[in-house]
């Protein structure tokens, strides 16, 4: 065969992955989806864009590119595992591939059984495998584990085994994906030896790697992929230095950038935290200010006096802190210096911005007190406090029935603190009892 002949020819190859916006992987979902929403929307991901490449027989082509640039996809298309969406691909001869750190392995079978199975898939007769078995095992360095099920193997062991089988199969084209990333130094040296042997035998190799130095050492040509497009293709011997430099420069840059990014991220987090703390503090200060400003104190004729205002919690203890949904009892103790007819007791709740939330009183609740004289108590009870987390003020007051005369008014003198109870609600001021349902 003439050396000039192209053994792999790729023309304007494009591979698109369709990523559906919504996963519809069941028949039921497809039917429901088709009826209610029509066609599925796909996101088009261009794994490979308009790539043209040719590899001559006996050449070693290295493919370099960042993660997600389409290297493995390209190998899979050459291995005809994936079908191209546009363009054409021509591969002459038998292809053996080593993809994604391992190959067609069955996890439950032992290493030996896998060797036979995989060799068979690659077209090796059982007899030939028998002969090569020892070589395969010793190359992979798994002699002790030959009868161990593969699921107990480490990734490195599996990759070594896979490569070891692949290299023992006679083929025209070898597709090799990142084999050197998994092995230790000893194994890497062995691999490089294998490549040298393949070179001697005039085999064609397409080799994917992250390591530009290595690619330069092994390959005749290097294809650079970025975002699925072929950025450039260079002959190694001519520009080896330049590429080398660029590659190491790029690598350096990449690491530097990633370190910087991490730092920025950390800094951002720190700032964010500080900002939050500051805001919290500001709020706290404002609250206190407001409290001072809005605290209007007492007024009224004092014909009936509010002697004390106290809040009690569920267990009957005095408290100023409650949970949302808890019962609260506010006891207004009064002292009437003379007999007063038909007084009205009331309470007003405010949020910490001074907004009026609720103003219940005895008349609204139909508690008609005919008269008061001397000491007594009026009790206001809520079974389940609907207020959400925050600080609230309340006023307590005694008026006459028509609210024209004020006997005693403690305006926003009392503070209660609410913390979240059973509810997770946290927007707004109150929790309105409710129920959510969903219908299609």
């Amino acid at each position: 065969m003439a050396k000039e002949e192209n053994i792999i020819e790729i023309n304007n190859l494009t591979k698109i992955f369709h990523i559906p916006h919504e996963e519809r992987s069941t028949l039921a979902e497809s039917i429901i989806g088709a009826i209610s929403k029509g066609k599925i929307k796909y996101e088009k991901l261009y794994a490979l864009r308009d790539i043209s490449l040719a590899v001559k027989k006996g050449d070693f082509l290295g493919i370099i590119g960042p993660n997600g640039s389409g290297k493995t996809t390209l190998l899979k298309v050459i291995a005809s595992i994936l079908q191209p969406d546009k363009g054409s691909i021509l591969v002459k001869g038998k292809v053996v591939s080593f993809l994604e750190l391992g190959i067609g392995f069955v996890q439950e079978l032992t290493a030996k059984e896998n060797i036979y199975l995989y060799s068979s898939l690659l077209g090796l007769a059982r007899k030939d495998t028998d002969e090569k078995l020892d070589a395969i095992i010793s190359f992979a360095g798994i002699k002790k584990f030959i009868d161990t099920p593969l699921k107990d193997f480490s990734t490195g062991m599996m990759a070594r085994l896979a490569f070891s089988i692949a290299k023992n199969v006679e083929a025209d084209i070898y597709l090799i994906d990142e084999v050197l990333a998994v092995g230790d130094e000893k194994f890497q040296k062995k691999c490089i030896k294998v490549f040298e042997e393949l070179k001697k035998k005039d085999k064609t190799v397409v080799f994917v790697s992250h390591n530009p130095d290595l690619v330069n050492k092994i390959c005749d040509e290097v294809a650079w992929l970025e975002n699925g497009a072929l950025v450039r293709k260079t002959k190694v011997d001519a520009v080896i230095k330049q590429d080398d430099k660029q590659a190491s420069l790029r690598k350096k840059e990449e690491t530097e950038v990633s370190i910087l990014r991490e730092r920025i991220e950390q800094e951002k987090e720190r700032l964010e935290k500080e900002k939050k703390e500051l805001e919290q503090e500001k709020l706290e200060i404002e609250k206190i200010k407001k409290h001072v400003v809005t605290k209007k104190g007492r007024r009224g004729t004092k014909e009936i006096e509010l002697a004390s205002v106290k809040c009690y919690n569920r267990s009957g203890k005095k408290s100023w802190a409650f949970r949302t949904g808890e019962p609260i009892k506010i006891v207004l103790c009064y002292n009437a210096k003379k007999k007063i007819n038909k007084p009205m007791f009331g309470i007003g709740f405010y949020d910490d911005n001074g907004r009026y939330i609720s103003g219940p009183n005895t008349i609204y609740s139909d508690l008609r007190i005919p008269y008061v004289e001397g000491k007594g108590k009026v009790i206001y009870e809520v079974k389940s406090l609907p207020l959400l987390q925050g600080n609230y003020y309340f006023s307590a007051a005694i008026h006459d029935q028509s609210e024209t005369k004020c006997y005693d008014w403690h305006d926003k003198l009392y503070t209660i603190k609410i913390v979240n109870g059973k509810t997770n609600e946290r927007y707004g001021l109150i929790q309105i009892p409710c129920r959510w349902t969903h219908k299609k």
């Binding site: 069941t26 497809s30 595992i81 993809l99 392995f105 079978l109 068979s120 898939l121 059982r126």
Partner: protein
Amino acid sequence: MKASLSNNLRIVKDLTIVDFKLKYNRSVLGFFWSLLKPLLMLATLYIVFHHLIKLDVPHYELFLLIGIILWGFFTEATSYSMSALNRNTNLIRKTNLNKRLIIISTNISAFISLMLNLIIFFFFVIIFEAGFSWHLVLFAVLLAELFLFALGMSFILSALYPRFRDLSHIWDVLMQVGFWVTPIIYPISFIPKQFHNWYILNPLARIIEDSRNALIFHKLPPVDFSYLKHVSITFIICVGALIIGVIIFSKKSKKFAEQI
């Protein structure tokens, strides 16, 4: 490529062996249980339908067993094929193996189980003195037909499964319904004549019924127009399923590496 047929045959053989090993979890006992399953079912159904419901069919134990075995093969082959692609993700995503071979080997492995079950059946034939006759040849033809149908359905189901993951549940339910819709515990003559044209659209009906005539009753069915019609319908459905299956599978299998 040259020598691809012998190569493919070898791959099918190896895959079948793997399939068999995995199915029975490399244990003799696992295999033993798989033989016990139809017998256990036989015992249950026999007690219920022979002793409790008093179905009067000669050689009811053999009658039931052959139905259970053939139906069991069909269920196993199709259900197992449906998940075969998922069990072999590595083969699909990392090699350019002809995916048809996976389905074929799964069916062959189910067929081997069927053969082993048939050995037990013939053992029963000897015990219950039903005898053998030249009609066995007809049974071989029926088996071939059944295999083609199972293979065809396996292709269709496994081609659609990566896209519709609930297919396995749907198929499970259909198989349960099918067990009663197919003449397994009762003869086809229990079905009123006017429904026969519909009933026969299930190829298993004709295959199981004819297998019984050949193996147990040693007689040819009455060869008349309606019988010939039914036989041809069964044959057309079996071959049709295979052709449709191969077409759908070839079309869908190009995308398997992306979907699985």
